[in-house]
């Protein structure tokens, strides 16, 4: 079964009892037990809920993993995965990681003595330099946010295996349609399902997929213990969003490519970051591990002043945080997604005050280009 079919037919398309073509929303907290001596599949919705199970099974199947987990946000998913480690453990995180992940790793988990280093993961030698005796995991985003830097997943996995590290990949930008890290050897995949998987800017959700029963046991213990679970209604909305993932992604990616090419040719744009462009660093690696360039791109204007002018004039796109929805969203990393990173750190990474991030939506790309032209 090809991917596009799997989105529709993933084992959850039909309710076994009634034949309903949409899985029921089990908006329930607890379950009647027929016999106290015979445990049933469900007893309490934090521990398990039939609607949540449907999205968990669906994402596990799509990512090619052993088990999936639904969380109440992408950050709840990331936090829960980081919670499988212990005090004294060391984790290497790619340096231009999402600002929220940066914040929780440095401000929250550091209090519990989880040690964190940030490395330029697009350079395998850099990762290796940071590996220490107590290093337990690599946490990578590829393409990264917001500079679309590419990390060689296969290379990172090889290195990790040599040192017994768990490889965690945030696959939000690509979705399993374009990139399946577990097939490339990664151990854990994280999604902010709020983005492309939900796709309609109407649900906050996080998903985790693991490649072994041992990891499944650990993540489940945190999910059930910590309890940052995804609600039934939101689980159902994600299942609904998932059905159109491919058609949305195909179109959004095409528009992103055209938009990127247009921006390249524009006099006021200093640089465009998009893996679909010839000359984008790591492009060959990207296309060896992913089947598309995705729908997120960034570009650089002269300075913060130019960005403000652009954001004030743009009309078709929403100026907002988040990405991956049917609406085109432009955001300003320095003030939005990466505001929690110290300015010096941002500058060092190249997240300048002139950088704008674009998530291409489903609007007609000609309208988007016209609008960008005017706003620039």
């Amino acid at each position: 079964m090809r991917f596009g079919t799997k989105l529709i037919h993933n084992g959850n398309e039909i309710d076994k009892q009634t034949g309903a073509l949409s899985i029921p929303i089990y908006q329930v907290s607890t379950y009647h037990q027929e016999d106290v001596d015979k445990p049933q599949e469900y007893d309490y919705s934090r521990s398990g809920n039939p609607t949540r199970k449907a999205i968990e099974d669906a994402i596990a199947g799509l990512e090619g993993g052993v088990k999936g987990f639904g969380f109440s946000s992408g950050m709840a998913a990331t936090s829960s995965v980081l919670s499988i480690f212990s005090a004294g453990d060391h984790i290497i995180i790619c340096e231009d990681v999402y600002g929220g992940t940066y914040r929780i790793a440095t401000n929250f988990f550091s209090r519990f003595n989880l040690e964190v280093s940030f490395a330029d993961a697009s350079n395998p030698g850099e990762i290796k330099k940071h590996i220490k005796e107590n290093t337990r995991a690599l946490f990578l985003e590829t393409p990264s946010n917001p500079l679309l830097k590419i990390t060689d997943i296969g290379g990172a996995v090889k290195l990790a295996r040599e040192h017994g590290l768990t490889v965690i990949i945030d696959n939000t930008f690509m979705s399993p349609y374009l990139q399946r890290p577990i097939e490339l050897g990664a151990d854990i995949v994280i999604h902010s399902a709020t983005k492309f998987i939900g796709g309609h800017s109407d649900v906050i959700g996080g998903l985790v997929v693991v490649n072994s029963h041992e990891l499944a046991r650990k993540v489940y213990a945190v999910q059930n213990g910590f309890g940052a679970v995804l609600g039934p209604q939101d689980s159902w909305l994600l299942l609904r969003g998932l059905k159109t993932l491919k058609v949305r992604m195909d179109y959004q990616q095409q528009s992103a490519q055209k938009l990127a090419e247009f921006l390249c040719s524009h006099g006021r744009v200093k640089k465009v970051y998009y893996p679909g462009l010839e000359g984008h660093e790591g492009r060959d690696i990207h296309f060896s591990q992913a089947s598309g360039a995705g729908a997120v791109l960034s570009f650089e204007l002269e300075d913060g002043e130019a960005v403000r002018g652009f954001l004030n004039k743009i009309t078709t796109a929403a100026v907002a945080v988040s990405l991956g929805g049917v609406e085109t969203i432009v955001s300003y990393p320095a003030k939005m997604s990466h505001a929690s990173m110290p300015p010096s750190e941002r500058q060092r990474l190249g997240i300048s005050d002139g950088l704008v991030r674009v998530s291409a939506g489903l609007e007609d790309v000609e309208d988007l280009i016209d609008d960008f032209k005017k706003a620039l």
Partner: protein
Amino acid sequence: MKDGDGKKLNIETRLVHGCKGFDPHTGAVSFPIYQSATFRHPGLYQTTGYDYSRLQNPTREELENTVACLEDGKYCFAFASGMAAVSTVLSLFAPGDHIIVSDDLYGGTYRIFEEIYKKYGMEFSYIDTSKTGEVEKYIKSNTAAVFIETPSNPMMKVTDIAFAAGLARSKNILTIVDNTFLTPYFQKPLGLGADIVIHSGTKFLGGHNDTLVGFIVVNDDSLSERLKLIQKSEGAVLAPFDSWLILRGIKTLGVRLQRQQENALKIAHWLKQHKNVEDVYYAGLPGHEGYSISKRQSSGFGSMISFAVKNTAMVEKVLEKVKVIIFAESLGGVESLITYPIVQTHSAIPVEMREKLGVNEKLLRLSVGIEAVEDIICDLEQALE
């Protein structure tokens, strides 16, 4: 739902447990929301009992069965709004049919009769059904139904359901009762002889001012067949999520109504002695015209009060000054709402008819919520100053 011995359970228990009580497949104590348009057939000529959600949907079915059980009826149909339910009942009749209607009734019902069904050749007489003997005077050879609201909206007139239904039955006329104001928790018209019960479930049954819904409940098999045909053909059905929200609302119907009624009684007494209030209409006041019939046919008086202020100029001030009470249409929710019938709920009713009933420019209608009664009274006090 019955207990282990097959005995019919008390209404408070039925409210909480609904019809099935829990989802038999998973044990889930909250019925699942079947947000599905269609259902796969196991094979040719085979069905799971569900084919397409306009015809039936498991979540809607659980709600329909629950409301039927609460009303002591056999069949219930859920619609997208109270007016969709009224309209469906009217579709049972044919051109040339004559219907006798309580003259003090919700403006939307009056509008659909006059502006829509009249065009199809149906006839309506609006009379004071609360006066014994009045109904009989208007019965003609083509009279097909009596449509009663009791207590009526907004004058809280009480019609003797058993008497009207007995008379109608003897002449082969259907009795339709809009039970929105009291709900089955306080009044069960089918048991008093009515043939059809209608609800705007948006009000007390839902109870949270967040969902629109209408119900029709009947006992008769052939009426049910005809209603089912209209429901599935016209398709004004209630959506699964809304069905679930109403099931959720029904669980607290008893506790909400108890509190609302308690509050309403205190407020009615308080209003009665206020110098700026001319009249108070509440079925629970012993001096109210319909008090004794209410005592006989209902187990409660509800929480709807209308009152007339001393002069018209006060109305605008009251509506401006209320803070706890919200100036909005609708009723029955946990929040206290106040409305001005002549410009809101009853604007569709002709002036002469309104004047005759007492629905005038001094009348305000109050739906009492579950807030602390002291706060509501305090709010009214400062607003009536």
